[in-house]
Symmetry: C2
Subunit: 195 residues, 2 copies
Amino acid sequence: MARKQGSHSDITGPKVREAALRLIARHGYAAVSMRQLAAEVGVQAGALYNYTPDKQALLFDMMRDHLVDVIESFDRADPKTDAQSRLRAFVSFHIRYHLPRADAVFVAYMELRNLSPENFAAIEKLRRAYEDRLEAILRQGEAEGAFAMKDARITTRAIIGMLTGFFTWYRQEGRLPLEEVEAIYWDLVCKAVAR
Amino acid sequence: MARKQGSHSDITGPKVREAALRLIARHGYAAVSMRQLAAEVGVQAGALYNYTPDKQALLFDMMRDHLVDVIESFDRADPKTDAQSRLRAFVSFHIRYHLPRADAVFVAYMELRNLSPENFAAIEKLRRAYEDRLEAILRQGEAEGAFAMKDARITTRAIIGMLTGFFTWYRQEGRLPLEEVEAIYWDLVCKAVAR
DNA sequence: TTTTCAACTGAACAGATGTTCAGTTAGATG
DNA sequence: CATCTAACTGAACATCTGTTCAGTTGAAAA
């Protein structure tokens, strides 16, 4: 019963990616078969190959698109003024951007091992580009005399780790509203890099 | 050629666990087959079932043993004096304990999705028990007037996230000696919870 | 109405999967 | 010496894996 009403590719295509993101976030790349994914979408396994050359490309494309969007979105959100304002914008952006994209964040973080070497290198480059945004802000703050830290690179990693760890547990923890969590994290980051 | 010299179970047993930890940390639980694991150990796949009832139990036992040891080791390292000293001991312990156990940390952190529901609950309980150690220290610090923070529970998660993120990249980054990394992290944590 | 073709099916491919178990081996035991 | 048995092999089980492709469908174009 192909093509019940109109062209399907612009319906099935996004469906494949949504289902893949959801299933892989829940069970892991290696644990999700193309047949499970197809069943979730509502097609046979063979039909998936109209939307991806293979399983590996499906994973890579999702991770790359996510990271590219993170970087572009932050560059738009960045006030590009003083370091204090930029750091605040970074913390706020990071939390608010990632929260409604928990599956994509989870996949981009947990499935690095399942990328081919070339794909891994490409994703690492993007990840590094995002981290470099934060590192630049910290170094600007040092130059302005607004921040003080022992090592900007490691502090960058520490802050990213702190913020990203957030998404491994916020789902279950409905205790506090987003605004409050954001304020708590801002307080921690702000004090940690203060002079 | 069974049993070439002496009893093998006390040699093969640890070998199985070491190989499983290494392979699963590198490729993921679902991506490592019992045959790959057996080849790494130097036996046939069937022989593994002398050392674990099934693949799932192998994963669970490794995670449980690791977490139990983390908790017991910290309880011995805990000076149980003032909050400032205890926090410093926690940060130092966490970094120094986890560093030479990178594979175990990685598996305990990344493979939660591959645990059966009952096993997941058991592991979560242990993870929570470790986090509770840190939370207790932070609350003691608040009571003593040594620390100030908006929310002790979330600050606990943030600090753990910050410290644990460390182990996803330290391998590659031989730039700084351990003592220095420890000092950098202590500086960040100390300032973040300061009054 | 006939033709076209994007979208999909369903079967097939060769090989991998976790797990079981009857049988084999060789060091330890009496 | 013979016996015992922990430790292991190797084959088998049913099922699943990613991927390919000839064939089918039905809405849209001519």
